[in-house]
């Protein structure tokens, strides 16, 4: 008896599963052992119908064993290996060559796309064996270079291939889609807000977190959305990381290299954001990996949720631990948060009057804890424009997103070149130990920073974050050394800009 290899997902990682089949005499029955979940157990109906559609009537008592026995198996991805195992045990197909087979079967034998194909491709590449996937997954699998993958449309195709009657379609070279869509909203359409525009440019260039504070209607949300249009495109490796998370959740594959942009409503649960559940799925923070996580109405989020983001924001990784195991997901996100200055929203407004009492104000500001604020590099006040500024019809003359995007892209290229070989791609990712050594500060920065750190009571993390932002500002100016003005600008964005 020879087994057929399939996979099951454990977090974002694919684990090999060997499917063994034995057929004994008796009344027809299929029993599946090896900790199958409901989807795997139901596969017997799909497999039987699919085999019947090819004219194979399964008879006798069929025992399917999924090894290793103590690893829980989930999902419909094991349909294809189970069907192949049964067909092999019946003698309908020749010996199955080494390879990993994935696919959910339709009742007529077609193969449906599955979750986790990218993870399986990585596993197949590392094990040095070919991968067989449904046609629908072939494109995302082609992202993993060095993996020899083949796509099949139906169970019949796979049978024909195993019998040597037909070749399967190999995965081609991955071609990112070149189509660029115009950014919406475009920075050219945004009036005023010079400070916020500059902050977003820095954020996009160095992947720094941003907090917008402003009255209702001042344009916080608009600005955050405009950030999408100036983010630099992902590198192939980064794109693979995002595709891996998306494939784990079964989100359809998109060839565009755009960084993700995830907007989360404040009613979100901790599990939906941080990941978890009985199957240890990744959350929004991991879906936003290498892209933007936008939390509008920041203080309205549950406090424990915001506190739960502390460690992931710092480490770029989140470890979800449950009784069923623990899994680590990437979550290198650019956090964009937006909030009002006070519950009524008008504190600091030039025209409207704030009606909040002092205790109300304090309670509101307490909702966002110091540790969270400390992790946000760019605190940006967004003042409301005066009516006469808003109604003006003439062209704003503001710089369009495309022009900003070019500067951002150049700055990011500088960072990629500088950190090449270290595994980092942007300034914000840099670990503490590398900050002071590798940022190339000019000589007068140190005394300036130490005097300011004392005056502003900056934390250790605060100082290194200021330095990273200063590095990004210097990159935007294409200066090799970080100068005092860069640090001064970075300091201006630290906490205290708009709040308190």
């Amino acid at each position: 008896m020879n087994g057929v290899w399939g996979i099951t997902l454990r977090g974002m990682e694919a684990r090999k599963v060997e499917v063994e089949v034995e057929i004994a005499g008796g009344l027809f029955a299929i029993s599946i052992v090896g900790l199958p979940d409901a989807a795997v157990r139901e596969s017997k109906e799909r497999v039987r119908a699919a085999l019947r559609s090819l004219g194979l009537a399964v008879r006798g008592r069929v025992a399917v064993n999924l090894a290793p026995a103590d690893l829980p198996k989930e999902g419909a991805v094991l349909d294809l290996p189970i069907a192949l195992g049964i067909a092999r045990a019946m003698g309908s197909i020749p010996d199955i060559p080494p390879g990993i087979f994935l696919g959910e079967l339709a009742l007529d034998g077609r193969l449906r796309g599955i979750r986790g194909a990218v993870a399986a491709a990585i596993l197949a590449r590392d094990s040095g064996i070919p991968l067989f996937v449904p046609d629908g997954n072939l494109e995302e699998v082609s992202l993993v270079s060095g993996c020899s993958a083949f796509g099949a449309e139906s169970l019949e195709d796979v049978f024909a291939f195993l019998r040597g009657e037909k070749e399967l379609k190999p995965a081609g070279e991955f071609v990112p889609s070149s189509g660029t869509c115009s950014p919406d909203p475009d920075f050219a359409d945004i009036r005023g807000q010079a400070g916020a525009r500059r902050a977003l440019e820095i954020a996009a260039a160095g992947h720094h977190n941003v907090l917008f504070t402003g009255s209702p209607g001042s344009g916080k949300t608009l600005l955050a959305r405009a950030l999408q249009g100036i983010l630099p495109p992902l590198s192939t490796d980064e794109f693979l990381e995002t595709a891996l998370v998306r494939s784990t959740l079964g989100i359809p594959f998109d060839r565009g290299m755009k960084p993700p942009f995830r907007t989360v409503h404040h009613t979100a649960s901790i599990v939906s954001i941080c990941g978890g559940g009985s199957t240890l799925r990744p959350g929004e923070v991991s879906l936003a990996h290498r892209g933007v996580l936008f939390l509008d109405e920041f203080p309205e989020f549950r406090r424990d949720l915001l506190e739960g983001l502390r460690q992931p924001l710092e480490d770029g990784r989140i470890t979800v631990s449950r009784a069923s195991g623990s899994v680590t997901y990437p979550c290198r996100v650019l956090l964009v948060a937006a909030c009002n200055p006070c519950p009524c929203g008008w504190a600091g407004d030039p025209v409207e009057k704030c009606t909040c009492s002092v205790p109300e104000l304090e309670r509101y500001q307490r909702k966002i804890s110091g540790p969270i604020l400390d992790r946000i590099d760019l605190h940006v006040p967004v003042p409301r424009l005066l009516p006469e500024e808003l109604v003006a019809v003439e062209d704003t003359g503001a710089e369009p997103s495309s022009a900003i995007a070019i500067r951002v892209r150049n700055a990011r290229e500088l960072q990629r070149k500088r950190w090449a070989g270290t595994g980092f791609s942007c300034n914000a990712e840099l670990p503490e130990r590398m900050v002071k050594r590798s940022l190339m500060l000019s000589a007068d920065v140190r005394p300036f920073l130490s005097s300011m750190a004392e005056r502003l009571r900056l934390s250790g993390r605060g100082i290194s974050r200021v330095l990273k932002v200063a590095r990004t500002i210097a990159d935007l100016a294409s200066t090799e050394k970080v100068q005092v003005p860069h640090v001064a600008e970075a300091l201006a964005y630290r906490d205290g800009g708009g709040r308190s």
Binding site: G25, L27, F28, A29, R59, G60
Partner: protein, 124 residues
């Protein structure tokens, strides 16, 4: 003198038996009686043992014959089938078919076969 419906049932089984022989099955046994059940026809369909339950109805009955085999009867058939395979030492695959015979008023009849009615469902 046999009751009329039993007479008809007997006829139906004969019709079914000749029907399966025409299909090329080899009939091994008929009316094997066990405690708790009877097997109408036991036959060999190439390499698979078939236990056929024959149901006969006169034309015009509200409920077709095959409908009268419910889960309880199916359970009995499975148990009797196991006893039969144990008794004969058959170790290959086997299945349960239902042959539904309809007697028409003009003396002709029609027959319908339902293959492998347990379909993987578990009967203890």
């Amino acid at each position: 003198m046999t009751a009329k419906h039993l007479e008809r049932g007997r006829q139906g089984e004969d019709i079914a038996a000749s029907f399966v022989e025409e299909l090329g099955w080899k009939i091994l046994d008929r009316n094997v009686v066990f405690r708790g059940g009877e097997l109408d026809i036991v036959a060999m369909d190439s390499s698979e043992l078939v236990i056929a339950e024959v149901r006969t109805r006169a034309e015009g009955w509200m409920q077709p014959g095959e409908d009268s085999v419910g889960p309880r009867k199916l359970g009995r058939l499975v148990r009797s089938g196991r006893l039969y395979t144990d008794m004969t030492g058959w170790e290959g695959p086997w299945r349960i078919d239902i042959l539904s015979v309809t007697m028409k008023k003009d003396g002709t009849h029609s027959i319908e076969r339902f293959e492998d009615v347990t379909g993987g469902a578990w009967f203890s």
